[in-house]
C-alpha cells in the first residue's frame, strides 16, 4: 500500500453515516429491542417497521421514500438483517435488523484495486478459509469458486492464510457466545457487500471519473507547490473566453428547435427505423449520392453553410450553381485546400505546388480573388510549405462564399426546384398480428414514449403518431 491518502469519501456514504449516527441517539434514536436465541440474549435489535417510521418522522418524507432510503442503508451494510442474511432489503414489518460500524475509508475501492492493496485479497481468503473450517469443507457456489481462484492467485502466502484463519477463530473463542454471533454476522455482511454473489449488482461501483484527477483530493499540506498550482490554475482561468449565458442559451434553443424535426431520436424517422423494422430504405434513401434527396435533407442545407458543404450532394449542387455564376473556382480552391490539410504528409509539397500553379499564380487557369494582405502572407508561407500554409486563404474564400454565393444559392430557382422535387418517404406500414389491438409505430421515438410502456416485445411503442409531423 505505497503511500498516498485515500481519495475523498464518496459523499453519499458520509450522508448515510450521519443518518445512521443520528439513529443511535439514546433519546431520539430508533427504538431497540432484544433478540432472544434460546439462552443467549443479544441487545440492540431494530425492527424494519421501526426504522421506516423513524425515517418518516425525522425527515418528513413519504413512506415509499423512507423504505428506499432504508434499503440503501441495508445495501451498503450499515444495517443487516438477522434472519435472512443474504437478502439485503429493508422489510417494513417486524423483521429484525442490527447496526454495524462501517469504516468509510475502506469503501473507496475505486482507488484501491487489488494490485495496489494485497491485503484485500488476503482478507477475503482468510474469511473464506474460516468459513471452510466452520462448515467442515462445505463451501458452495460462488464462494467455492472464489476460494479456488484465490488459492491459485496467492498460493505463495497460503501458509499465512491458514495460520491467520485458525488464530482468528481461536481469538474469537475468548468472547461470549452472543458477541461471537454478532461479530460473525457483521463479517458475513461485510463480505456480502464487498464481494456480492453473482447476479447482485455491487453498490460500491463507481462510474468512470469524468472530472480531473485532482478533483476531490484532500490536500494534506498547503505548501508552496500547492499555491503555485493554484496560481497557475487561476491565471489560465482568466484567459478563458467568456460568453454570457443568455447568449449561449438562446443559441442553444435556436439550434434545438431547428434540428428537432431532423433528429431521428426526437422525431422518429421515415419511412421506418431500420433497427426496428429491419428495413433499410431509410439508409438507401439518404445515401451520400442519390438522385432525389429527401426533403429533410434539402431543408438542412438551408441551416448553415457548413451543413451544405458537409453533404456531398449539397456540395455538388452548390458547385453546379456556382458554375452558372462563373465563380466555381472558389469552391474548387476550397476543396483543394481541404485535400491538402487532410492528405498524406509525403504529398504536401507536390500538392502545395499544384494548388499554387492552378489557383494563386498570376495568370493561373482558375485564379481566385484573395485580398492583397492574405496573398502576401500566403506567398511568404509558400517558401516553407506545410499542411496548414493555405489556411488563411482558405478561410478568406470560405467567408466570401458564405456571405455572397450561399445566400444567393438559397434564393435561387435551382434550390427551390430541389425543394419542390424532394420526396417525403411515406411511413412504412408494419405487418402486425391480426389480434393486436394497437398499431405499433414503425419508428418509435423514445422521447415521446409514455412513462409505462407495455411489456410486449413486438409492440415497441404505443406512442403518439409522429410520422406525419416529420416535415
Amino acid at each position: 500500500m505505497a503511500g498516498g491518502r485515500p481519495g475523498a469519501q464518496m459523499p453519499h456514504l458520509s450522508k448515510m453515516e450521519r443518518v445512521v449516527v443520528s439513529m443511535q441517539d439514546p433519546d431520539q434514536g430508533v427504538e431497540m429491542r432484544n433478540q432472544r436465541l434460546r439462552i443467549t440474549v443479544i441487545p440492540h435489535t431494530v425492527a424494519g417497521s421501526d426504522v421506516v417510521d423513524w425515517l418518516v418522522q425525522k425527515y418528513c418524507i413519504s413512506e415509499e421514500e423512507a423504505l428506499h432510503l432504508g434499503t440503501l442503508l441495508v445495501l451498503h451494510g450499515y444495517l443487516y438483517p438477522l434472519r435472512r442474511p443474504r437478502s439485503l432489503v429493508l422489510r417494513p414489518d417486524d423483521t429484525p435488523y442490527r447496526f454495524q460500524v462501517r469504516c468509510n475509508w475502506e469503501q473507496t475501492p475505486y482507488f484501491w484495486t487489488s494490485t495496489l492493496w494485497p491485503a484485500a485479497e488476503l482478507d477475503y481468503a482468510i474469511y473464506l478459509t474460516k468459513k471452510n473450517i466452520r462448515k467442515q469443507g462445505a463451501l458452495v457456489g460462488h464462494e467455492k469458486e472464489h476460494y479456488d481462484q484465490l488459492h491459485r492467485k496467492i498460493s505463495h502466502t497460503w501458509d499465512l492464510v491458514v495460520m491467520q484463519a485458525r488464530e482468528q477463530l481461536r481469538a474469537a473463542k475468548q468472547r461470549r457466545k452472543g458477541d461471537r454471533l454478532v461479530i460473525a454476522c457483521q463479517e458475513q455482511t461485510y463480505w456480502l457487500v464487498n464481494r456480492p454473489p453473482p447476479g447482485v449488482p455491487s453498490v460500491l461501483e463507481q462510474g468512470p471519473e469524468r472530472s480531473s484527477c485532482t478533483a476531490g483530493r484532500v490536500q494534506m499540506t498547503k505548501n508552496t507547490e500547492f499555491y503555485k498550482r493554484e496560481m497557475e490554475r487561476y491565471r489560465k482561468a482568466l484567459t478563458r473566453a467568456r460568453v454570457k449565458s443568455s447568449v449561449c442559451l438562446e443559441a442553444y434553443l435556436k439550434f434545438s428547435s431547428q434540428h428537432a424535426p431532423h433528429d431521428p431520436i426526437m422525431s422518429g424517422c421515415l419511412p421506418s427505423n431500420p433497427w426496428v423494422t429491419d428495413d433499410d430504405t431509410y439508409w438507401t434513401m439518404n445515401a451520400p449520392s442519390v438522385t432525389v434527396p429527401t426533403k429533410l435533407r434539402v431543408e438542412r442545407w438551408g441551416f448553415s453553410f457548413q451543413e451544405l458543404l458537409e453533404d456531398p450532394l449539397g456540395r455538388a449542387h452548390f458547385m453546379d450553381f456556382l458554375r452558372t455564376e462563373f465563380s466555381a473556382e472558389n469552391l474548387s480552391f476550397w476543396e483543394a485546400c481541404e485535400e491538402l490539410r487532410h492528405g498524406g504528409q509525403a504529398q504536401v509539397h507536390a500538392m502545395v505546388d499544384a494548388v499554387y500553379q492552378q489557383f494563386l499564380a498570376p495568370g493561373a487557369a482558375c485564379w481566385v480573388n484573395i485580398d492583397s494582405r492574405t496573398m502576401e502572407r500566403t506567398l511568404e508561407g509558400l517558401q516553407q510549405p506545410h499542411r496548414y500554409v493555405l489556411d488563411d486563404a482558405q478561410l478568406h474564400i470560405y467567408m466570401l462564399m458564405k456571405k455572397d454565393s450561399y445566400s444567393r444559392f438559397l434564393k435561387s430557382a435551382a434550390y427551390k426546384d430541389l425543394l419542390a422535387q424532394a420526396v417525403i418517404p411515406p411511413e412504412a406500414k408494419r405487418r402486425v398480428f391480426p389480434f393486436m389491438r394497437k398499431l405499433p409505430h414503425s419508428s418509435p421515438s423514445p422521447a415521446l414514449l409514455p412513462a409505462s410502456t407495455s411489456g410486449e416485445p413486438v409492440a415497441a411503442a404505443s406512442g403518439p403518431e409522429c410520422g406525419d409531423g416529420g416535415t
Binding site: H44, N104, L160, V161, M163, R166, A171, R175, D179, R180
Partner: protein, 235 residues
C-alpha cells in the same frame, strides 16, 4: 536452531495480529470504551515488537550466503508469510485509526453505534500478550494521546514494509507454500464450529471451562453415590 526461533516468533506475531484484528472489529460499536482502546494499544505494541524481532532474525538468515537451497526455501516461505502479516497489520492499524477518529470517546461525544456487542475483550488482549489475564483501568483521556501515537506507528510499519522490499530480494512467485487448499480442515485443533450464524448449539469438546465443570460435577456425583452406598451398607 534459527529456523525454529523464526517460526516461533512468526507464530506469536500471527497470534498478536489475529487478536488485534478481532479487537479492531469492535471499535465504534457498543462495546467501545477506554479499556478497549488501551487493549488495542497494548496488542499493537506487542505486535510491533514481535515484528521487529522477526524481521531482524529473518533478514540475518536470508543475508547469510552459506545457506543451503532447502533452508533458503524454508526461510523464503517464512519471509513471505511475514510480509503478509505486516500488510494485514498495517491495514488493521489504518482501519483502527480511521474508526478511532470517527468515534472519539472524549467530548464532544458522538453516540456509539449500537451493534449488540456487550462483553469486554480482555480475554482477546490477554491471548495476544500471552498473559493469563489482563487487569487494568484506562484513564479517561486515553484515546486522545493514543491517536497521535497510532499515526506514528502506522508510518513506522509502512517504512518497515518498504525497507523489507528494498533490502531483501525474495521473488514471491518462486515460493511454494506448504499448505494446500483445504489444509485447514485437516487439523483437529481449530476444527470446531465457532460462532455459527444459525442457532445451532453445539456442545463442542473444545471448551475448557465446560470440560472442567463436567469433571467436577461427575466427581461430586461419584462421591454422592459412594456415600449413599456406604450409608446403605451401614444401615
Amino acid at each position: 536452531m534459527a529456523r525454529e526461533e523464526c517460526k516461533a516468533l512468526l507464530d506469536a506475531l500471527n497470534k498478536a495480529i489475529a487478536c488485534y484484528h478481532h479487537l479492531v472489529l469492535t471499535v465504534g460499536g457498543s462495546a467501545d470504551s477506554q479499556n478497549l482502546r488501551e487493549e488495542l494499544q497494548k496488542t499493537r505494541q506487542k505486535a510491533q515488537e514481535l515484528a521487529v524481532a522477526t524481521r531482524a532474525q529473518l533478514t540475518a538468515a536470508l543475508r547469510d550466503r552459506g545457506l543451503g537451497a532447502e533452508e533458503r526455501a524454508e526461510f523464503e516461505r517464512l519471509w513471505v508469510a511475514f510480509s503478509g502479516c505486516l500488510d494485514l497489520l498495517e491495514a488493521d492499524m489504518r482501519r483502527a485509526l480511521a474508526l478511532s477518529t470517527a468515534f472519539p470517546l472524549h467530548a464532544p461525544r458522538r453516540p456509539l453505534v449500537r451493534t449488540g456487542v456487550a462483553g469486554g475483550a480482555a480475554g482477546v488482549a490477554a491471548r495476544a500478550l500471552s498473559a493469563r489475564s489482563l487487569r487494568h483501568e484506562a484513564e479517561g483521556d486515553f484515546d486522545v494521546d493514543d491517536l497521535r501515537e497510532q499515526e506514528c506507528e502506522i508510518l513506522q510499519v509502512s517504512e518497515m514494509i518498504h525497507d523489507m522490499e528494498m533490502k531483501v530480494n525474495v521473488p514471491r512467485w518462486t515460493v511454494q507454500a506448504r499448505q494446500t487448499a483445504g489444509a485447514e480442515l485437516l487439523s483437529s485443533a481449530g476444527a470446531c464450529s465457532v460462532g455459527a450464524v444459525s442457532v445451532q448449539e453445539r456442545t463442542g469438546p473444545c471448551d475448557p471451562s465446560k470440560a472442567l465443570a463436567a469433571t467436577v460435577f461427575s466427581a461430586v456425583l461419584l462421591a454422592a453415590v459412594a456415600l449413599a452406598v456406604c450409608v446403605a451398607k451401614l444401615s
